[in-house]
Amino acid sequence: MISVQVKELTKSFGEVTAIDNISFDVNKGELFGFIGPDGAGKTTLFRILVTLLIQDKGTAFMEGHDVVKDYKKIRNMVGYMPGKFSLYQDLSVEENLNFFATIFGTSLEENYDLIKDIYHQIEPFKKRLAGKLSGGMKQKLALSCAMIHKPEVLILDEPTTGVDAVSRKEFWEMLSKLKENNITIIVSTPYMDEASLCDKVALIQKGKILSIDKPSNIMKSFPKPLLAIKANNMYNLLYDMAEYKNTHTVYPFGEYLHYTPLEKTFDIKDIESYLASKGHINIIIEKIEANIEDCFMELMKKN
């Protein structure tokens, strides 16, 4: 069953086209990720979906409701966590929750089951002012507030930006648990490594969707063979591999660089002897499978 349906959506701000003719469907209960850098259009898209902005062209339906005509209905059934922490800093944890519950005509007690796993972790601090919480705790409170009215669809705008690796991991664990309640979750992130935690992802750049599929399918469809190469001096290695005759792309990936050939295939022996002739030592060359970041860069290059 389709939960969110977007067709040919476009929104411009003056000269800048923030989102450019975007279409996609999200199924009920799916965890759907928008992966892309700052300025890709993620926030604009989400603000249209939660009825805070009106598109220039195209349509968007949330659980069958039109985001323009039925905005009042949508606001009652969508939970939204904006990218910037937007709760009341000078109210306590408990006061924030009660405030949002009251606005939606419900109470903390009524929907406690839904948020208990998350709220449980911050409950010991319920008297603390929201402004005095750590980044990870703020995030948990914001998620609790976004869900207090038992929404059908959750829209989370970069919930893991700026929080440390431990909190990030805990947050994704919370999301996969939430899925058990059959809530549709749309989440955005600039971190490519979070793609694999989603059921389906859209890679987005400059207002356009580059690819949309299961993460595993996107990685499988990488069009080139790929090598990881390492040697003693990364700076020289990058330079020399960029100059190599059969090179399509060379990108640093931590301790290794990732290399794709211009032609259909490559000759590892030839690369080895080429690098040795350039004075590299401790050369390691391994054939690898593409990850989401490899795919994203290849798609950027193609577009």
Binding site: S134, D164, P190, Y191, L238, Y251, P252, G254
Partner: protein, 243 residues
């Protein structure tokens, strides 16, 4: 790599009242090294970095930065380091050239030198046409590259990068790391603090702070082997979650 220490830290402690923010830190960073300084929010990274930049005094212990003592020579330390942060680096309401002139002027570079070096820099960054553009109208990726170039404009011995590459697309991010490799290759020591573990993979060595202490210090490869995991993120989770 030559192993000449450029930062030496010994038994460094920083307390705020009864709270121990840095608990007996001891480590060296070598010339031309890209050193990752990692830790969760609140682990004590910023406190330590402020001391290393000459902005705050330790409670006890020793630290020497590029030959200068953190208790006595704080002015000399500041002159010999560069600093760039994702949060604040360039003045948005000044142009590209005004920013360069401002920073270079603070470090005492002469006008003629500034002019010559600026021309070379803008040419290298392909920003010649943007010399008089306000920073706020540049794309984020260009800002980051320019901010890094400005941070090393006065040829510092060490450059401190405070969460430098968040938010940009993966290709721009790699262009940025190419610049970092280039600087390190010329002998500039690069000290990166971050809580993004995939940035850690690019460093020659990384230290991981947990609750004010250094819980691990080694190359990313060795740390991954030692903990039998695939990524620095997993190394970090193992160390931070056991605290």
């Amino acid at each position: 790599m030559e192993q000449t220490p450029i930062i030496t830290v010994k038994n460094l402690v920083k307390k705020f009242g009864s709270f121990v923010a840095n608990d007996n830190l001891t480590f060296n960073v070598y010339k031309g090294e890209i050193f990752g300084f990692l830790g969760a929010n609140g682990a004590g990274k910023t406190t330590a970095m402020k001391i290393l930049c000459g902005l705050s005094l330790p409670s006890s212990g020793e630290a020497n930065i590029a030959g200068y003592d953190v208790y006595k020579d704080t002015d000399k330390i500041k002159r010999n380091i560069g600093y760039m942060s994702q949060k604040f680096s360039l003045y948005e309401d000044l142009t590209v050239y005004e920013n360069i002139r401002f920073y270079a002027g603070i470090y005492g570079l002469r006008r003629k030198v500034i002019r010559e070096k600026t021309a070379l820099l803008l040419n290298k960054l392909q920003l010649d046409q943007e010399k008089d553009t306000l920073i706020k109208s540049l794309p984020l990726g260009w800002k980051q590259k320019l901010a890094f170039s400005v941070a090393i404009f006065h040829n510092p011995k060490i450059v401190f990068l405070d969460e430098p590459t968040g938010g940009v697309d993966p290709i721009t991010r790699r262009q940025f790391w190419n610049m970092i490799y280039e600087a390190a290759n010329k002998g500039v020591t690069v000290f990166v603090t971050t809580h993004y573990m995939d940035e850690a993979e690019y460093c020659n060595r990384v230290s991981i702070m947990v609750d004010g202490r250094i819980a691990a210090l080694d190359t990313p490869g060795n740390l991954k082997n030692e903990h039998n995991v695939q990524t620095m993120n997993d190394v970090f989770l193992k160390l931070a979650r056991s605290s």
